[in-house]
């Protein structure tokens, strides 16, 4: 099976976010950048599909305004076969990102194009659908189950309190949710994998110019919650808590 996984370099979820000068982005000082966690799950799903099929390759594609290879090297260490870094483009503006990605992806042949369901920086949930639209491919987003059989992908996608069944022909676009096919984490790189990652082929191409659709006017920290209080200790504090919830907070 020939599979492509789009991956994004994002701040580790453990990061305490600080706003950068100009208040239009974060302060990257001290931030550790990793592969977007949902993209890692997509990599794992793709590797398992390739192993099950017995042949094929898993190619990583990333759009990085700075052309960084940090995320791609981590993906190669996990086990993808080769990578394409598109240098340029933008962030926090999904349509131009999708256009740039589609421009490169349309030159590639694949059975399935994987994405994580969203990136944990922008939380936009749009690029997979937009790329599918631009490539005129079927799409299944927030996928929790995927079975490939007879040139088709039988999927289930997550909705509130349930799942929808979808059945699409290959090639298709899938965006993965945590837990897809029982996958909650990706495999950890072996020493051999980490060494091999240094020499696996990575191609860098330049992104064409793009037209922004959104304007990021300001980024700021959330308002501080007013300070709370410990109402008491142990069972004795229960009646007072309930009284406060009823009379002060008025949430009962």
């Amino acid at each position: 099976m020939n599979l492509v996984v789009c991956l994004k370099r994002v701040p580790d979820t453990i990061t305490k976010i600080k706003i950068g000068p100009g208040a239009k982005g974060i302060d990257p000082q001290g931030v550790e950048f990793v592969v977007n966690p949902y993209d890692e799950l997509a990599i794992e799903a793709a590797l398992r599909l390739k192993e099950k099929a017995g042949s094929g390759e898993v190619v990583g594609v990333t759009l990085d305004p700075e052309g960084s290879d940090v995320a791609m090297r981590k993906a190669l260490a996990i086990g993808i076969d080769r990578g394409v870094i598109i240098k340029g483009g933008t962030n926090f503006d999904s349509y131009p990102v999708a256009e740039v990605l589609a421009g490169v992806l349309k030159t590639m042949k694949f059975d399935i194009l994987f994405f994580g369901k969203n990136a944990v920086d922008d939380d936009a949930y749009q690029v997979p659908t937009m790329v599918a639209h631009l490539l005129a491919l079927p799409r299944v987003t927030t996928c929790v189950a995927l079975e490939v059989e007879g040139g088709r992908a039988k999927c289930r996608r997550q909705i509130e309190g349930g799942e929808e069944s979808v059945d699409v022909p290959l090639p298709c676009v899938i965006s993965v949710q945590k837990g897809i096919n029982g996958i909650h984490d990706r495999r950890y790189p072996s020493v051999k994998g980490i060494m091999a990652a240094k020499t696996k082929p990575v191609q860098t191409v330049a992104a064409p110019a793009f037209e922004p659709r959104l304007e990021l006017l300001k980024m700021e920290l959330p308002p501080e919650r007013p300070p709370g209080r410990i109402v008491g200790r142990g069972v004795e504090a229960v009646p007072e808590l309930v009284r406060l919830l009823k009379e002060e907070a008025k949430v009962l």
Binding site: I17, F92, P96, D123, Y125, S165, R213, L216, L241, K246
Partner: protein
């Protein structure tokens, strides 16, 4: 500016989050010199036009065809885009539900623009529409403007007030001709999962359990409190990764982001990723035996002590108080 609102019907019911979105669209359109309209897509959805009229839609477009019974991403996007062309709005709004998140991307793709997802504020400063939305799982917020029309916006459920505005509106059938390709990603079937009687992202009250409950066999303590409150149940990443609870219950940066009126955290320490998923809850209660647990800094009210003593007592006390 006129605003068109996609109204979602699930299991024959109009979603409350769609009424919240329509109400906010009406308020925003008013500040921008326009009005709100709505579009219904599905099979047998025409009757919901009345509720939409009451909540401020001056026109309600209806695309009602048997093939639209279940969600079909390309077809629904096409239907909304055609309603938008017909209505001449400057913006398209929808609730950021599972369908809405997917559909906003599809509509935006068709119209060649980007959407602003899961917004928590709608602004009309200086006669221009902008929105406020969480990023980095709510660790930061951005204010976003639109360089291209229409602005496509999805609103976070349970943030905006649904409000009847005393209007009425008749359904206007909108004939849309679909191609086969519009159904290539269509949903075939929907199945409810065993859990999830009250959906986390739409719940007014949530009771969540973490490692402090010590094992999967103890989660009935959480569930009994939740039952007394009519609450949805959540869990921390630690207990999901340990296999004690399913991922559908996980609250946090790689789980669900929730904004209930009341969030009760039992035996949860309050890691950054968990807080990211629930810190906009209106009232947070924390029960934990460690007085230094970070959750107490975020909580409105806290009780320090043993969850196994405190929670059953709390459940009993609440049952008494709520019965009166």
């Amino acid at each position: 500016m006129n605003i068109l609102v996609f109204a979602e019907v699930r299991d024959g019911k109009l979603k409350k989050s769609s009424l919240e979105t329509l109400s906010e669209a009406r308020r925003a359109a008013g500040k921008l010199g326009g009005q709100a309209a709505a579009v219904l897509v599905g099979e047998g959805v025409r009757a919901h036009a009345e509720a939409l009229g009451k909540h401020g839609a001056v026109r309600v477009f209806v695309v009602d065809q048997p093939r639209l019974k279940y969600y079909a991403p390309e077809a629904y996007a096409r239907a909304v885009a055609e309603a938008y062309q017909k209505h001449g709005s400057g913006a398209v709004f929808m609730a950021a539900t599972a369908m809405g998140r997917d559909l906003a991307a599809g509509v935006a793709a068709l119209l060649g623009t980007s959407a602003a997802t899961d917004c928590t504020g709608v602004l009309a400063d200086g006669g221009r529409l902008s929105v406020r939305r969480p990023v980095y799982a709510g660790k930061a917020y951005t204010t976003v403007g639109f360089r291209k029309s229409p602005a496509i916006v999805s609103l976070r459920p349970n943030v905006f007030a649904a409000e009847e505005s005393g209007g009425t509106s008749a359904a206007e059938d909108l004939a849309v001709t679909f191609e086969e390709a519009d159904f290539r990603s269509a949903v075939r079937d929907v199945a409810a999962t065993a859990q999830g009687k009250v959906e986390l992202t739409e719940a007014a009250v949530i009771v969540s359990g973490g490692r402090g409950l010590r094992g999967p066999e103890n989660f009935h303590v959480r569930d009994e409190l939740a039952a007394a409150l009519g609450a949805a149940v959540g869990a921390s990443r630690a207990v999901v990764d340990s296999g004690w609870r399913p991922h559908s219950e996980q609250v946090g940066q790689t789980g669900k982001t929730v904004a209930p009126n009341l969030y009760i955290a039992l035996g949860i320490s309050g890691a950054i990723q968990h807080l990211a998923g629930m810190r906009t809850s209106k009232v947070i209660v924390a029960i934990n035996k460690d007085p230094d647990a970070p959750i107490f800094k975020a909580a409105t009210y806290g009780i320090v002590g043993d969850v196994f003593e405190i929670v059953p007592a709390l459940t009993q006390h609440l049952k008494k108080v709520l019965a009166t």
